[in-house]
Symmetry: C2
Subunit: 385 residues, 2 copies
């Protein structure tokens, strides 16, 4: 069989490939978007995991929308009005894929920030959407560009990660959030708010969801990979009833439903008395690592390496003078440190800014120091001052 057309131009995920290479014990990986597995709240999940053999009903076929008590919990937790609902997905990645399949026809225009989350670029490319790139500032998307894009093109949806953006770590300001919501309402563009890092704020004040300013023009994707564990593959999409009902139809064909025993375990975890402390510990640990990383960078990397500070999330974006970032990342791997070159986060290769995405959640403070030392040697070869 020949590959279907949408697949012919899709490359396998560079990140998923590099993650395999980065498994070697000699390599320190700042490449993945992996939470630290020593922080997984397995102790808090232990009782419900051990109780699973006594709950046969969880192992039967379940509802496509999700395990009913978990959905009920989400409705309360996220204060959904009666006009809205949620659907549990096999990771928020599936949520995004369902949205694209339910609402995008080949050739439809959608908007995304550039750079942007690779998994979203893959999903919208598979859906054969025409992706319009909006450049990013330190407080969110360039609003003039965004409005111009909404005005000149018939944009179906605008996908973004307003809290601790992947890959740049940028967190949208309150003013930008309100303005984007306003523009989406004015031009009838649906805002797809991807919020996997939202709970990982270690600095500054919690800001409202963009969607809270345009609830009927938006859908929210939530992930339990960062605050619970990724291996259980559970995410959530919330939005208007008729939109969630469309996602349900696609999900029936896509996988019938997501695994129910883990939905029950997730519910118990989210309701556990000590879950709040778990989150606090997680933020504390990641904050310490983040501080170590930026300190190492300022000590060991040339002054022309620039980073914008972040208030949470899992990544920083290290801007470099114009250079071949792919060759640099490859050489870094040979020198024992895995990083992701900026090129993989742009759908339009022409607009690539030279930069590296560095993850700070899955390496110890000592490893972060060693990693930057190794990186320093390589950067000097590729970006001679």
């Amino acid at each position: 069989m020949k590959l279907a057309k949408p697949l012919q131009n899709i490359q396998p995920s560079y990140i998923r490939e590099i993650l395999s290479a980065a498994c070697s014990p000699d390599v320190i990986s700042l490449a993945g978007g992996l939470p630290d597995d020593t922080t997984f709240p397995l102790e808090l999940m232990s009782k419900s995991l051990k109780d699973l053999p006594n709950r046969a009903q969880l192992f039967q076929y379940g509802n496509t929308a999700g395990y009913a008590p978990l959905l009920e919990h989400f409705r309360e937790r996220y204060q959904l009005p009666s006009s809205h609902d949620g659907i549990v997905c096999t990771g928020s990645q599936q949520g995004l894929d369902l949205i694209a399949r339910a609402f995008i026809n080949p050739g439809d225009h959608i908007a995304m920030e550039a750079p942007s989350y690779l998994g979203a670029i893959q999903v919208f490319s598979l859906a054969q959407a025409k992706i319009k790139s909006i450049s990013q500032r330190v407080d969110g998307p360039n609003l003039e560009e965004l409005e111009a894009c909404f005005t000149t093109k018939n944009i179906t949806l605008f996908y973004a990660v307003p809290d601790f953006h992947n890959p740049t770590g940028v967190c949208w300001s309150l003013a930008v959030r309100q303005k984007v919501a306003q523009l989406c309402q004015k031009y009838n563009v649906t805002f797809i708010e991807d919020a996997p890092y939202r709970e990982l704020r270690f600095n500054g004040e919690h800001l409202p969801l963009v969607s809270s300013f345009c609830p009927d023009n938006s859908m929210v994707l939530r992930s339990y990979s960062k605050i619970a564990t990724p291996g259980i593959r559970l995410g959530l999409v919330t939005g208007r009833l008729n939109w969630i009902s469309a996602l349900n139809k696609v999900k029936q064909a896509a996988d019938l439903h997501s695994n129910t025993p883990m939905q029950a375990v997730l519910l118990d975890l989210l309701q556990h008395d000590e879950f709040i402390q778990h989150l606090a510990k997680l933020r504390h640990l990641y904050h310490a690592r983040y501080k170590a990383l930026i300190q190492n960078i300022s000590l060991k990397l040339p002054a022309y390496c620039h980073l914008n500070t972040v208030d949470g999330g899992m990544f920083i974006w290290l801007s470099l003078p114009k250079c071949d970032v792919d060759a640099l990342a490859k050489s870094a791997l040979e020198h024992g440190v895995a990083v992701v070159p900026s090129s993989v986060f742009y759908q339009d290769r022409a607009s690539v800014a030279s930069a590296l995405r560095l993850n700070f959640t899955n390496a110890s403070i000592e490893e972060l120091g060693d990693a930057i030392e190794r990186l320093a040697k390589v950067i000097k070869n590729y970006c001679p001052s």
Copy 2:
């Protein structure tokens, strides 16, 4: 947002809808395709479920193709040659969806038996395939029709359930299996062999997979919903390396990977000393229920109700004189018995034969007796002799 075109003609699954209605305690359901949850091998899974909190690595992001030790087990269990591989899916339903997304362009022709599995009709409709229906005989598809279809149309794939077909329970004869494989090779059609009920044979001799006669022209879908439990959502696709690699690309966008803790639990279960006894008990139970069902039918239903006997699986197909099967099924539900009318298993409503699909795996012998009594009253109203 407007629904994408492929979704505009998709109805939500009648079966998934009826399953909700059938949950009422007053209703005996022969409608679903549910295994009996009292038979779930939770005792055999108990040790590994309880051990999960000690295996943090299973809760980290995993490989898209699946948990490596489980994949290794599958390669041995199914004796895959080095030219072939497998990919673990979120239920075999996802496997089917990935195949359609990887290999079907809108307008491509595919072949299926009529009637056929509703989930497959949904998947191929979403992919906007043109479905050519092949009628079914007691020993498999009508071979003349199949060859005529392969000759006149450019058929990409032929999807079928050769072992205890859903909905009819038909099991293809050895001669038909060989001939279909030969035709697929001759006309370069990929055979998609869906085998969820294969291990549920309670009578007669085990027959080779159709794919064993055309390994390079086929992919096999396996489900662990019937022999382990459905709630864990795990299935497998096997086939040629380049085809599996294409499925991997789609799966990266679709959900990154399937849940890993349950993959580890499934591996332990498949390797458990007592797993073979579990399967034997399951077959014994379903056989007893099947016998009770057909005995009740012959005693309580009018002689014009015809069923072909089955040697395994979960369903029988009760043929009726021409009547309004949708109205009949609706009335049956009001009389306390849920069944599925034949109409939902045809993509071409014009060719619908009047029949009901009856499941015998999820009701006790006593319930099966009561269900047929309730059905008898309704059938007499809709098919007066």
